[in-house]
Homo-oligomer: 174 residues x 2
């Protein structure tokens, strides 16, 4: 399956000079999206994974079907102020300024073994903050799995060096 053929390049989004990797075209192709979920299902079934953690909001689209297939809980990690009950939060640095993610304080428990899902791995800031949240709740990150990896940003060697990381499509240059 040539997944790259189903990912649309959108120039100058969200700002000039950035080429955005649009996965809505992949989601428009049942063959391509089934390939993603089939691959992950094979990868994670029987591994003792107890929950799928999806990062807002394209991580919801890709993560929820995996939780459905494995018949395990789906846990959303969201931007601040979106989760209604008691949360813990983690700030992380952006190129300019900071951002923040939250998880419900009761969403995971000690002994949980989770896979973290998002559509795209760039610098790894959000994923690393998500990993910290998972660990703060006493759970273990078994793997972080992405559809797309901007491998030229080297997140595996830097922010995610302590995690097992996988991706289905890699881009080696901008």
């Amino acid at each position: 399956m040539d997944l790259k053929a189903h990912i649309r390049d959108v120039p100058d989004f969200p700002k000039e000079g950035i080429v955005f990797k649009d996965v809505t075209t992949l989601l428009a192709s049942p063959e391509a999206s089934q390939f993603v979920w089939d691959t992950w299902e094979k990868q994670f079934r029987g591994n003792g994974i107890t929950a799928v953690v999806g990062i807002e909001s394209r991580g919801f689209i890709f993560g929820a079907p995996l939780a459905d297939r494995l018949k395990i809980p789906f846990v959303p990690v969201r931007k601040p102020g979106k989760l209604p009950a008691k949360t813990i939060r983690r700030e992380y640095a952006l190129e300019y300024g900071t951002d923040c993610v939250e998880i419900h304080a009761d969403a995971l428990k000690a002994g949980d073994r989770v896979v973290v899902i998002d559509d795209l791995l760039a610098t790894g800031g959000t994923a690393a903050a998500t990993g910290e949240l998972v660990k703060e709740l006493g759970a273990e990150v078994m793997e972080m799995a992405f559809v797309i990896e901007l491998s030229f940003l080297k997140a595996r060697a830097t922010k995610l060096s302590s995690y097992r990381v996988s991706s289905l499509v890699q881009y080696d240059s901008e």
Copy 2:
């Protein structure tokens, strides 16, 4: 399945006096979430549905597994500025002010028959705007399906009167 037992009431969220219906507890229960997806799968399989339209962002969590099970495209409807390619948009009135949703202009085509999915039906403003977007692209809304319906807000009789609407759980009072 007593779905209500899996929905958490969070008082005073997002503001004082509102009791928020939290579905993260439902997503934490594979039995409850499988019941939702099993019910919808039975309801829509064989109906000639060609796409699932999910409304940002809890509609992504509930809609994507249905698209996966039916092996049809998943189409996101999002807040302004989130979809990268050419979009059409629809404003709608809130209690104070307006809000807006967008869909990619090439996300659906004439002849598509869609089901619109969201976690919760309140006044129906977002769902009605989503229905307009679907029709503007030449597609047909076969049904709008929600996990939760705040039936005391009477969206079926008002904003969604021209649509077929279903929900799995109804609340008849606040």
